[in-house]
């Protein structure tokens, strides 16, 4: 993505005059092409969701010309989607809160506090990122069963309330905040809690937005874990619900896409919301 933002710098000499005029055009064209690449799947998804089953594989692919809005109702009725939605929101909310809280605390400790083996512990923590999730799934599943959490919100949320990625991101961000700010707070009598809450956290908003968004996408899109720890519709999430439409005996692309649009809406909304928070965070902290 960096290629998008680093446009070729025209030489300041007079020779560069024509380049200076064509460069923005080229840049816009490049951006336009990338925008198409990004938007096309969405357009296809929406268009397909509005088609009749028989027309799914026929053009037009990107621009809806027929509007079988009923697909949405049929998709919604095909499975208890309202319940799936609520479950997804509860699970995602729990994980999101867990990540933001626990990751922040851990990151602050690693960035600011001094304790024995601090760097070693951090290295160990980072090293766990190398272990693929699949390796830990079965032991974690076994643990959840023994705790008697099978088919419960606890099983969906608790084992995944903290993640190393968030800690690494937040710690790096906190480390970049001048320690003098903390020192000044300490001179004013603030302890570590106060310092974290009133000084560091407000400055960390951009990083928190980053962590929050990745946490949200991770939790909202997770499939394998909810599949394993839930037994039936009472605790199933929306991603499991979508698999209803791609069954062994024929898929229903138009219903799958209608369901997927419905499932993608919160992701889009959250993104737009967090994007604003993110910009505000950058603007208000004066950090560059």
């Amino acid at each position: 993505m960096s290629s998008v933002t680093t446009t070729p710098v025209p030489r300041p000499a007079t020779v560069a005059r024509p380049t200076g005029r064509t460069a923005p055009v080229l840049r816009q064209l490049l951006l336009l092409a990338l925008a198409v690449v990004v938007v096309a799947p969405f357009a296809w998804m929406v268009t397909t969701s509005l088609k009749d089953y028989a027309d799914v594989y026929r053009p037009p692919y990107l621009w809806p010309q027929e509007f079988h809005v009923g697909n949405y109702g049929r998709a919604w009725d095909a499975a208890p989607f309202a319940g799936y939605y609520v479950n997804s929101l509860i699970m995602t909310g729990g994980i999101l809160v867990g990540h933001v809280m626990l990751d922040t605390l851990a990151a602050y400790a690693f960035a600011r506090l001094r304790f024995p083996l601090r760097n070693t512990l951090f290295l160990v923590l980072v090293a766990t990122m190398l272990v693929p999730q699949f390796v830990t799934v079965l032991p974690a599943y076994d643990l959840v069963i023994r705790l008697g959490w099978y088919d419960s919100y606890a099983a969906l949320i608790v084992p995944r309330m903290a993640d190393v990625f968030g800690i690494v991101v937040l710690r790096a961000f906190m480390a970049s905040i001048p320690a003098e700010l903390d020192d000044a707070a300490r001179l004013d009598g603030a302890g570590p809690w106060r310092s974290l809450w009133s000084v560091t956290l407000p400055l960390c908003r951009p990083a928190l937005a980053t962590v929050g968004m990745f946490s949200f996408l991770y939790a909202w899109n997770d499939f394998l874990w909810p599949l394993l720890v839930t037994s039936d519709d009472t605790h199933r999430t929306i991603q499991l619900g979508l698999s209803t439409f791609s069954s062994k005996y024929g898929t229903y692309p138009e219903l799958l896409m209608a369901g997927t649009v419905t499932a993608a809406v919160p992701a889009l909304v959250i993104f737009l919301f967090l994007q604003r928070a993110f910009i505000r965070g950058v603007a208000s902290t004066g950090l560059k």
Partner: protein, 468 residues
């Protein structure tokens, strides 16, 4: 800075969201092929059942927590039986309605029907085996039965289901759950492959849609003529191995069996397809492709209207019943003039997981009822699955039902006695992928028929010689 950041942010987020959406679209284009995809992505190993389980039988299966009387007679057993299946839509509704009917007739027994996403059934079952959260019954793709047998948790159904029921079922269906003299699974639904063709394209090419080809030579001629006259492929073959290979393999097996060949040897210890029959079958496919009669493309050209015919599963008749994308006809798959008729068998089978005698008996009782003549008839009529009982499939009632409501189903029913079963071995999924990968090379002209089959033989033998 702010603007640049924002732009970058949007890009990152948009890509992330796009990935999200794409991840949701994974679909299995080849039915009966869902077996290996789930296993490869999950480390779940069935050997985990060997470890001791401190939670023990006290926690039992989730269903075991309900009250159960200790009376051994199945008629007086009461409690809840959990059944996992992956059917959806009408199939799922019909199954639930039948379970309800069973409950009404058997007060005290509750059937808890749970739908599990099909492609993840094996992942979930393997995880459940290792932590004792198995249901009482699971109903899944018959190719996966040998892998379930391997868990050592299945109940021998031989004594629990009346002999009259067993002897009425097609022998090919029973081969999947056979181990020594035990029968560890029971077929509950069936389907097979047939020839489906686009009547419009066939007519355009100057053929009579009422007279589909019956031999390989006729098929070659017709497919070439269709290509010449309509510009569209005449007969779509499943040419790509993909990530599990089964789509290609199970379609090719039909040609192999028709030519008189076998996929594995009798004891499923060695490949048997590198034979005259195997070479003949593969040559048939290569000839069709060389003549451009079959496209080298991802599966689905026929369904999109870009090819005139294909081997399709009997379930397509039902899926297309209401809104066919084009006028289509069905027939039995053309066989070599000097060969035999054959098709491949698909469908679902049920297994019962060990618990206690009374419970196992109650579970088997439900399955025996479900497969009873009356139930099998109405189940087949309502879902479009083929009957598992010979007496139902060949009975007058079912025949007149098919003739009246969906005559295009009849060739599939007629083909049932010629249906072969895929090998009953837990290594089948791996063998299937190894085979498909080599055969794909011959189809794409990167190897000769002989080279591809020899290489496939070596690879499959290696898969089979490895300890499961």
């Amino acid at each position: 800075m702010t603007r640049r950041l924002r732009r970058r942010w949007f890009a990152v987020a948009a890509v992330a969201t796009a990935l999200t959406v794409i991840a949701g679209c994974g679909s299995s284009s080849s039915p009966a092929a869902s077996s290996s995809s789930s296993s490869s992505s999950s480390p779940a190993s069935s050997s985990a059942s060997g470890t001791s389980d401190p939670a023990g039988s006290a926690s039992g299966s989730p269903a075991a927590t309900t009250a159960s009387s200790s009376s051994p007679a199945p008629s007086s057993w009461s409690g809840e039986l959990t059944v996992w299946h992956y059917w959806d839509g009408k199939n799922a509704d019909t199954f639930s309605a039948m379970a309800q009917k069973y409950q009404t007739a058997h007060p005290g027994v509750t059937i808890k029907v749970v739908n599990v996403p099909g492609s993840d059934m094996m992942t979930k079952l393997q995880a459940a085996v290792s932590s004792r959260t198995l249901p009482d019954i699971s109903i899944g793709d018959l190719v996966n039965v040998p892998r379930l047998v391997q868990t050592g948790r299945l109940v021998d159904l031989t004594p629990l289901i009346p002999q009259a029921d067993w002897s009425d079922m097609y022998p090919a269906m029973l081969s999947f759950g056979t181990k020594d003299d035990q029968q560890l699974s029971i077929p509950v639904s069936a389907n097979d492959l047939g020839l489906m063709y686009n009547a419009d394209l066939v007519r355009q090419a100057g053929f009579d849609p009422a007279k589909p080809p019956t031999t390989w030579d006729e098929m070659k001629t017709a497919a070439a003529a269709i290509k010449a006259k309509t510009g569209k492929a005449g007969f779509e073959l499943f040419t790509q191995a993909g990530d599990n290979g089964e789509g290609l393999t199970w379609n090719f097996q039909v040609s192999l069996w028709q030519a008189g060949g076998e996929f594995l040897d009798e004891g499923n210890t060695k490949a048997a397809f590198n034979s005259d029959a195997g070479r003949k079958a593969l040559q048939y496919w290569v000839d069709l492709i060389d003549a451009k009669a079959s496209p080298l493309a991802p599966w689905g050209e026929f369904e999109k209207g870009n090819a005139a015919s294909a081997q399709e599963g009997s379930w397509m008749v039902g899926i297309w019943a209401d809104k066919p994308p084009f006028t289509f006809g069905t027939a039995q798959i053309p066989a070599p003039a000097d060969g035999r008729k054959a098709t491949n068998l698909g469908g679902e089978q049920a297994v019962v997981y060990s618990s206690d005698d009374a419970r196992e008996k109650a579970a088997a009782d439900f399955l025996a009822w479900f497969d009873g003549p009356a139930q099998n008839l109405s189940w087949s009529e309502q879902t479009g699955f083929l009957p598992v009982r010979r007496s139902v499939a060949e009975g007058a009632e079912y025949k007149s039902f098919v003739a009246k409501t969906s005559p295009r189903m009849q060739p599939f029913v007629d083909a049932l006695p010629t249906a072969h079963a895929r090998p009953n071995t837990p290594q089948y999924a791996e063998a299937s992928l190894a085979f498909a990968k080599q055969v794909e090379k011959a189809l794409y002209g990167k190897a000769t028929v002989e080279q591809a089959l020899s290489a496939a033989e070596a690879d499959v033998n290696q898969v089979l010689s490895a300890t499961p």
